[in-house]
Amino acid sequence: MERQGNSPADDIPLTLIVEGTHGPVIHATNRTARTMGVQIGARVVDMRAICPELQTEYADREGDKAALERLVLWARRWCPWTASDGADGLILDTTGSAHLFGGEDAMLIEMETQFSLLGLTSRLAIAPTQGAAWALARFGTVRSICTEGEIAQRLSPLSVSGLRLSAETVQLLHRLGLKTIGALMNVPRLSLARRFVKAALTANPLVRLDQALGKLAEPVASVEAKPRFSAQSRLPEPIFDPAPYLPQLCDNLCDALQNAGMGCRYLNLTVYRTDGDVSHIDVATAASTRDPVHLHSLFRDKLERINSGFGFDLITLTAGGVEAIQIVQTQLDGEAHSDLQLTQLLDRLTAKFGPRSVSYPVVYESHVPERAQRRISNFGAPPPQTAELIKERPIRLLDIPEEVHVLYAVPEGPPAQFIWRRKTHRVTRYAGPERIAPEWWKDRPGTRLRDYFKIEDQTGRRIWLYREGLHEDGRGGDPRWFIHGMFA
């Protein structure tokens, strides 16, 4: 499956790669790469030798799998029963639904068109059994349609590779001279059974043949689509303000969530204007919730942003990030948990001032004091693992250190006396120096190191100050002193 969107030009040999045991291997290629001799399964270094301009990109196999799962549901437009097959196949049970699309021929053309609109190349076949359809789609003619009675006849000329067998088994059959499905069908059943009776499914041509011919049932489970939680109100005539309808919508949605034992993390409000325009409002919550009042409150002040134009006649409210929640009663009096109030407050603040305005600090591992803290505004995410501070740091850190004049013993002595904010402080005790060098990978060259001292002055005030630079460190003149924080 190739990615769509911003794909490079067709004449660039592009491959998707995955990590193999001996370095990356080719997972998929585009046509240009294929014609240049790049082979799937080969190592990238080898293929680079053949085609030096090869572009590589890591394959997203998880993503491909997820996309296929979505495609399974998407394909429900043609029939109610669909399932995925391997890494690149779909199985549709179209029994009884073909006539809705004008017959099987028309349906296949319709499918091919729809897939191509998604940017996907498809090979389609209809057959009474899954095995036969598999073979025909891969080895048969374009858009093969096979009816009940002609399976054997249609499969006969195809290679035994069409039976979903492993490569070794196919090789064995070739060596035995049984190269087509037809040749295999001519072998006495007993002989085959004797030889392959205990073999695994992909190494068992007899079972595979029976499955393809419909002699053996091959049940496949279809996946259940996740229910969508959505509430809507259709209005008899266009209105301009959705606010009156919102509480009802929230109630309905939360009822549905409640019945399913679910909560949601996002809400999407969509209004459909009479002139065909659509506008959206999204809100998010810090924790899963299904509290209609709270959800409703998040939309406050946001509805005004809707440009109602000539009015709208349909409003839908859809829940996203749906997950199971359990309401836990933590207090005997049935009061809600205080944490809940906090998260609700955060939601309201975030909704009001925007996600960037509300944040909280976490420790960041850096020796440089002003970098030792970061702010995180994503409340929903689990808090990152924070390190412990290994050194004592002042309670208050000045955003901008204030330069002071200090008396000290040159070159490296501790501060003895300094004037700060027009007041003279005499140092009665000190601890230090703690030397913090610039982070060489981050700071500009020429940044000077700092010697931090914890001091206590005559009044018992505890101050954190540092000397920037050393005498003759070759990075500017004499060292300067700064106050950086207060301990109490």
Binding site: Q39, A49, I50, A193
Partner: protein, 1105 residues
């Protein structure tokens, strides 16, 4: 030596003058981690020693974490820099306590080594220790701590430390100090005071150290990067793993005095410890095992007796007088240097292999040892001094002051027996392999640093790609620019700078290929011994340079595939042809052998089987043994790049006169002739290059030795420039033509590492001759032995078998009723063949066949197997094995062809039948069903798939009819083509090569059913047809025939990939076997780089499914 190609040039202090010894300093730094505390120290011995001298130290400690690996280097460099090394180490117990340990004397040092050896060889519970780990417990340390001065390093939490201190004190009476450091961490004063209190309370003293990790503050970035590598993180995520400042560098005694002004006793303590260490690494007097000398005799007497005994054995008709004289001379020198036991030890090992092993193991000395007549008569080497001119000085010389180096090759399949014998005889505590220090090379350094710095994979690989050839010491900034990398980008510039510092740092210890150290007293008291990654291997922590530095001798126990092959051939000749031959008894003057070699018919022969050698043979036309010596030495990158091949060939064929430039009047006009007359005036061997310098430019032996070293490391452009001036200048002064002098020097320069010394070439030539002799007289034996020794050599089994058949040998396919596991000979009734035996391919040729299964078959075969059930029951085979045999068509003697056999084999089940159905299968009787006949071409394809060769037909034969119609010629008819004729030809690709010495020309060998053809592809064609060349399994070539001296090449003008033709033979993909030497898997576009070992690892086949 070719093995040393990947050795990194060791950094060392070049200029020893200019260092003045400092007066005793008040402080001695003892807590130094060098770069051998892998990833925990960022400076090497050179930097530390030079900095220490400059800062005013007179002594310097060395304390690497649980290792002594770096002490020899520090010892050597510190002595050069006029600093006295104090040898010790840093011990970390399994429980976490850390100590600095400094032995007072030799005995205490021995105990420390024994302690480390114990930790490295056994886990605390006595199990086999994993490589690289070292487990020491407090009890271990206590029992080895006598006379070892221990300094405990407190951990972060002082309260924990002081609580545990009494326990340590009870166990370790020699622990007298607590280490204290002033590292600008904010609480230093309080901490040191606290430690001081604790020390006083416990009757100890604090000892100042700066816990040094690098020699100068500028090294902090490298240290941080190494920390990140150690913790597998990046610089941006490392956080508190990194130090806050750059204070852990080597500080001057004066600086330390300022920092520890309040605690002068902490400084005095360092002086006390350092002055109490009287141990010097040079004390490690080395003794060879005494077992080799019988009682009541000295080693020298015994060696002399052995030598003269050996001389009588080597020369039954009487020892030639020249040899007697040489022996006397050599023995005198050996006595003078007192190394007789070394020779006896090696003789002992060789004798074990030759006489005590059942069956004996073939072995032969190689390298410079072949220059010694003593080695010859002792049976260590095989080059006869009576017929060959030897340069004993190349082996041992008084001036070189280096120990001799004896390398011995053993059969590659059985070298392990010799190694284990050495371990068993001398014990694991007296014998061990050397280490090889693996250094960061430029690519590796750039890649690692780039990863740490957070560069993307793309940029790092682009950056590392710009380094051409990974031996250069500096990351090529210029090339980076060419690759479109912006070096003014600070991140990139920083990465390169750090990578540059990292190049040459040791990365880990590997195991030397076969260098053994043997001692009389336990080796573990001389150097720590650790376990190797391979089972049953242990090796010491020092590499060969360290051993050389300390004058310890080693013996190289190497493996050579051809010896295995020759031994197997000798056994077969004895068993089937009734003739007993040994390496020594084959006469070197057999005309037929030389005739064969002159035709270039040397497939499978040792050394001369490569395409280049095969092409050289008809030109050089070897007629005597010495020609083979030249043949071996001349097709090497050294002589080729030095442009010595063509002059030699011209002179040999008489097209050009032999001439020897002469110096001006007062000097001997024939001086060069004496050196070069054996090679017709062209220097071909390494010694000759040295000799020319010594004779024509009057180099002293010492200067010549410098030149040899400079040659070996010429790429680093160290001293070679100065030597060039010296040599050329002196030659001109002595009256040589300036032009000649310059040419002479450039030839020598071209040698680099890639020339052979004459003695080495002679040893190899001997094997060339022996293998040619076998091939010439017993082609059947040769083919069998060669197949049984696989994988080795240049060619795949398919080509070996094909060559044998072309020499009239009948080859039978593998068959359960006839084949053993090995390939064998079987008598031939019909006398149509030249030889009376046919080769029966063994079951080992079948892919996936297991040896134990083959042995079951062989044991159960007292009467022929009649059907599948019979073989399954009697040989107790599983169904899978039988299916493999069936697929390989090895059941024909039961009247089952491949298809029928496969069909029947499918019906066999592994599980025993239930008693009820024992007589009849539970599915009922078999229904008769005839499978379609398998066409021959499908058989051939399946043969290739299962045994990688087919005796039935060649795949190209099926295409011949249509190809003839289209006007394709065969490789056979090339022989009759005239020079310059245009031909069309197609064949299966065997080998693709682009030798470094061929300036971008690519050579392809293709094969069809009649023979092989060599294609020459010029660089322009290479660019145009690169895809075809890299990809094709069948290549269709149009080109011009080029012939010279009986060598035919096809110069390609147009190439086409016709692999599709091969696919049409069968629905399956045919697996064509490429020869071992194919280079396709290396990226062809750039000149060969990377590890030379990697360069020859080519997959035996390429599977496209």
């Amino acid at each position: 030596m070719p093995q040393n190609d990947y050795q990194h040039e060791k950094r060392t202090i070049e200029d020893e003058e200019g260092f003045i010894k400092n007066p005793p300093s008040p402080f001695v730094e003892l807590g130094i981690s060098t770069c051998f505390s892998f990833l925990r120290g960022a400076s090497d011995a050179v930097d530390l020693a030079v900095t220490a001298n400059a800062l005013g130290y007179d002594k310097l400690g060395c304390a690497d974490l649980n290792t002594m690996a770096g002490v020899v280097r520090l010892h050597a460099e510190a002595r050069k820099a006029q600093v006295t090394p104090v040898i010790g180490c840093r011990l970390q117990l399994v429980t976490g306590e850390t100590f600095l340990a400094y032995p007072r004397n030799r005995a205490a040092y021995g105990r420390l080594c024994a302690l480390l050896s114990k930790g490295k060889m056994q886990m605390t519970d006595g199990a086999w220790q994993a490589k690289g780990a070292c487990d020491i417990t407090l009890d271990d340390l206590a029992s080895h701590s006598q006379d070892v001065q221990l300094i405990v390093i407190p951990n972060e939490n002082i309260d924990h430390f002081s609580a545990g201190l009494p326990r340590l004190q009870r166990a370790l009476p020699s622990m007298k100090y607590i280490a204290a450091s002033y590292l600008y961490r904010g609480n230093d004063r309080a901490r040191i005071n606290h430690l001081d209190q604790i020390a006083r309370a416990n009757g100890l003293s604090i000892l100042a150290t700066n816990d040094v990790q690098y020699h100068a503050p500028e090294r902090r970035p490298l240290q941080d990067v190494m920390t990140c590598i150690l913790h597998k993180t990046t610089i941006h995520r490392a956080g508190f793993l990194l130090q806050a400042n750059a204070e852990r560098h080597l500080k001057s005694p004066a600086q330390m005095e300022t920092l520890f002004a309040q605690w002068p006793h902490a400084l005095r303590a360092t002086r006390e410890v350092a002055d109490a260490c009287h141990f010097d690494l040079r004390e490690l007097s080395y003794e060879y095992p005494k077992e080799t000398v019988p009682h009541g005799r000295t080693a020298q007497e015994h060696l002399e007796k052995q030598t003269w005994d050996g001389a009588r054995w080597r020369y039954p008709e009487g020892v030639p007088t020249t040899v007697t004289a040489t022996l006397h001379k050599e023995l005198a020198l050996i006595a003078k240097l007192d190394i007789a036991q070394y020779f006896l030890t090696i003789q002992n090992i060789v004798n074990f292999a030759r006489y005590k092993c059942k069956p004996p193991i073939l072995c032969q000395g190689r390298g410079s040892a072949a220059n010694s007549a003593v080695c010859y008569v002792l049976g260590i080497t095989a080059v006869d001094p009576a017929t060959n001119d030897m340069l004993f000085e190349r082996f041992i010389s008084e001036e070189r002051k280096e120990p001799p180096d004896i390398d011995v090759d053993f059969e590659h399949e059985r070298r392990e027996e010799v190694i284990q014998h050495i371990y068993d005889t001398y014990g694991r505590n007296r014998a061990a392999l050397c280490a090889t220090v693996i250094h960061y090379r430029p690519r590796m350094a750039v890649r690692e640093v780039g990863k740490i710095m957070g560069l993307s994979e793309d940029i790092t690989s682009a950056l590392s790609k710009t380094i051409w050839g990974s031996w250069g010491r500096e990351v090529g900034a210029r090339e980076a620019k060419q690759a479109g990398l912006d070096l003014s980008d600070p991140l990139l510039a920083r990465t390169i700078k750090i990578a540059d510092q990292m190049i040459g740092m040791p990365r880990h210890l590997g195991q030397h290929v076969g260098g053994f150290i043997l001692t009389e007293s336990p080796l573990s008291h001389t150097v720590p011994i650790g376990n190797g990654a391979m089972p049953d291997r242990s090796f010491i922590e020092w590499d060969k340079d360290d051993i050389e530095e300390l004058r310890i001798l080693k013996v190289d126990v190497l493996a050579l595939g051809m010896l295995t092959c020759i031994r197997k051939a000798f056994d077969l000749i004895k068993a089937y042809h009734g003739r007993e031959v040994t390496l020594a008894t084959i006469k070197q003057d057999d005309e037929a052998v030389y005739d064969m070699l002159c035709k270039g018919d040397s497939l499978g022969v040792f050394q001369v089987e490569s395409r280049a050698q095969m092409n050289m043979l008809p030109r050089l036309k070897p007629r005597e043994f010495y020609d083979l010596v030249i043949q071996v030495a001349i097709v090497r990158p050294g002589p080729i790049q030095g442009d010595m091949v063509h002059p030699y060939l011209r002179r040999r064929s008489g097209k050009e006169p032999e001439e020897y430039p002469s110096p001006a009047a007062p000097h001997d006009p024939d001086e060069l002739k004496k050196v070069l007359h054996r090679t017709k005036g062209v220097p071909i061997f390494q010694e000759q290059a040295m000799k020319v310098a010594m004779v024509a430019a009057e180099f002293s032996p010492d200067e010549a030795n410098q030149l040899r070293k400079a040659m070996a490391t010429f790429r680093s452009r160290g001293t070679i420039g100065a030597l060039e001036e010296k040599m050329v200048g002196r030659m001109i002064r002595r009256g040589y033509d300036p032009d000649f002098a310059n040419r002479c020097f450039h030839q020598i320069k071209g040698f680099g590492d890639y020339g052979f010394p004459e003695s080495h070439a002679a040893s190899f030539a001997h094997l060339v001759y022996v293998s040619s002799w076998i091939k010439c007289h017993y082609p059947d034996v040769f083919c069998t032995a060669l197949l049984n020794s696989q994988p080795m050599g240049f060619y795949a089994p398919a080509q070996i078998v094909r060559d044998a058949r072309e020499h009239g040998v009948t080859v039978h396919p593998p068959d359960v009723n006839y084949s053993d596991w090995d390939n064998t000979l079987e008598p031939l009734s019909i006398g149509k063949s030249k030889s009376t035996f046919a080769v029966r391919l063994g079951l080992r040729q079948i892919d996936g066949m297991r040896q134990d299964m083959a042995h079951r078959i062989m044991q159960a075969r007292h009467m022929p197997f009649t059907d599948l059930l019979d073989i399954k029951k009697r040989a107790h085979l599983d169904a899978g094995t039988i299916r493999k045999l069936a697929a390989a068509d090895a059941l024909r003697s039961m009247q089952l062809d491949r298809r029928q056999a496969l069909w029947d084999a499918r019906a066999l089940q592994d599980a025993p039948d239930l008693p009820l159905f024992q007589d009849k299968p539970d599915e009922g009787g078999e229904v008769q069903f005839t499978l379609p006949q398998m066409p021959l071409c499908e058989h051939v394809v399946a043969d290739y798939q299962t045994t990688r060769l087919s005796l039935k037909a060649h795949p190209m034969a099926f295409l011949r009819k249509s190809m003839t119609k289209q006007g394709y010629t065969t490789t056979k008819s090339l022989d009759h083509m005239r020079n310059g004729q245009r031909v069309k030809l197609a064949g299966i690709v065997l080998i693709r090569q682009r030798p470094g010495s061929a300036k971008g020309v690519c050579f392809i060998t293709v094969e069809d059913e009649l023979g092989v053809a060599n294609l020459v592809i010029w660089p322009k064609m290479m660019e145009a047809f690169r895809k075809v060349i890299m990809n094709a399994r069948v290549i269709d070539v149009t080109g011009i025939v080029q012939r010279a001296d009986g060598v035919i090449h096809l110069v390609a003008h147009h190439l086409e990939d016709r692999s599709d033709a091969l696919d049409r033979l069968s629905d399956d993909t045919i697996v064509t076997t490429l020869a071992h030497a194919d280079e396709i898997k290396k990226a062809l576009p750039s000149p060969p780089h990377g590890h030379p070992r990697d360069a020859c690892v080519i997959p035996k086949s390429r599977d496209f499914h």
